[in-house]
Symmetry: C2
Subunit: 241 residues, 2 copies
């Protein structure tokens, strides 16, 4: 699933759709596009990739756009300071293939034309994907970034065996399940005062989400963790005088 986060220009959405069609990608999602949707400029630039545009879905929030994904990759041009694996486009294809072949949804995020993805967008992802570029000229437009990722995806297509679905008797958690746990966990931390430093709060949350993200939690583990948070909270209340 190609997810464009707050794309600014319809033209770029169309060109991205065309690049997707070149490599057999069909699922496009748009998070808060700046211009109206459907968009005539997008259609013009899609050069016939109408099926991709017709099937595109618009979301109000990034979180809703990635709810069903089990693996989420974030493309960035710049260095970032988050504790996350950084992989290249070929690695991304290798990572994405087993879950996709197992019937899961893998999302790949592309940021705003001017400013890319924000820290909080990246924090949601399991890994960061960068394309090595000439350091003296790193401006790559949105559709070109989609093209390169699509190219590697298509290259990997034939050579990757389907993953054995069985994972120790459980299945990977969806992002929806993961975020429901984040919400529960962070609410608990707010209530206990752990996050009372308003300035430090966003960064602390990001770091913890990254930590959970790296764990590649299963559905069963998420259920267990909900229980853990609930129990911890309840125990504290019982102790209250």
């Amino acid at each position: 699933v190609v997810i464009l986060v707050e794309p600014q220009m319809g033209e770029n959405i169309g060109a991205a759709a065309r690049a997707m069609a070149n490599f057999g990608l069909s699922r496009l999602r748009l998070v808060k596009p700046r211009e109206e949707w459907p968009n005539p400029q997008a259609r013009k630039m899609a050069s016939g990739a109408d099926r991709v545009l017709d099937a595109a879905v618009v979301y109000d929030t990034l979180q809703s756009a990635i709810a069903d994904c089990t693996l989420l990759l974030a493309t960035t041009a710049r260095a970032h300071d988050q504790a996350k694996p950084v992989i290249d486009a070929a690695d991304a294809a290798q990572h994405a293939a087993p879950p996709v072949h197992g019937g899961e949804s893998v999302g790949i995020l592309f940021g705003r034309e001017r400013t890319g993805l924000e820290k909080d967008d990246i924090a949601l992802a399991d890994a960061v994907v960068t394309v090595p570029l000439n350091p003296d000229f790193t401006s790559l437009n949105l559709a070109q970034a989609v093209l390169l990722l699509g190219y590697e995806w298509y290259q990997a297509g034939d050579s990757t065996p389907p993953r054995v679905l069985e994972m120790h008797g459980s299945v990977p958690a969806t992002k929806d399940q993961l975020y429901a746990f984040f919400a529960h966990f962070e609410r608990a931390l707010d209530e206990c005062g752990f996050l009372r430093n308003e300035e430090a709060r966003p960064n602390m949350i990001r770091n913890m989400r990254n930590m959970w993200g790296r764990a590649e939690l299963t559905e069963q583990e998420i259920r267990t963790l909900h229980g853990v948070v609930k129990e911890l909270t309840t125990l504290r209340e019982k102790k209250r005088p």
Copy 2:
């Protein structure tokens, strides 16, 4: 050396220059561009890759544009019927790296936006490069094709050792030297009547050029072949009544 054969739109030249700059490619040649050159639309689309445009050189013929190349690759989207190795973009980068690191010029041809390269263009090349694309949607624009080849070139960049220049005491022939031999050889064939069937002539020439091309001739071998053609012709002259 990126060589655009009869590019139609200035915008596409600019976008190709930008894609080149992304991957550290700097030598651009244009064979008979349809629009005036320098071109303001090209500059606009180059998004700052001005150095590539400023250094671009315009040629009247493809043959003059590739005169100094020792290896020539032709990009095509469609299948073709010429006896030439067909490689993918990653292979192209692997093939190009040793001669480039040895100080030779390697050219890669990109065809016209609408119609691609013609048979006679492809006949000049040592190998054909194709990018595997979704068979239902194979329209890849010029700059995107340059981008994908540039990407693979940049990927290969660090991992390829420089070639040992010594090649059995000789150096590979440049295209200029090769075509001078073609001219000599084909003139001789015309004179002796071998090519008298006007309808079959172009195809016969193409096939023979492909044959010579596959031989990867050295300078010394070219000199030898000139001698062979000359001697054979002289023999025929001597035989004349």
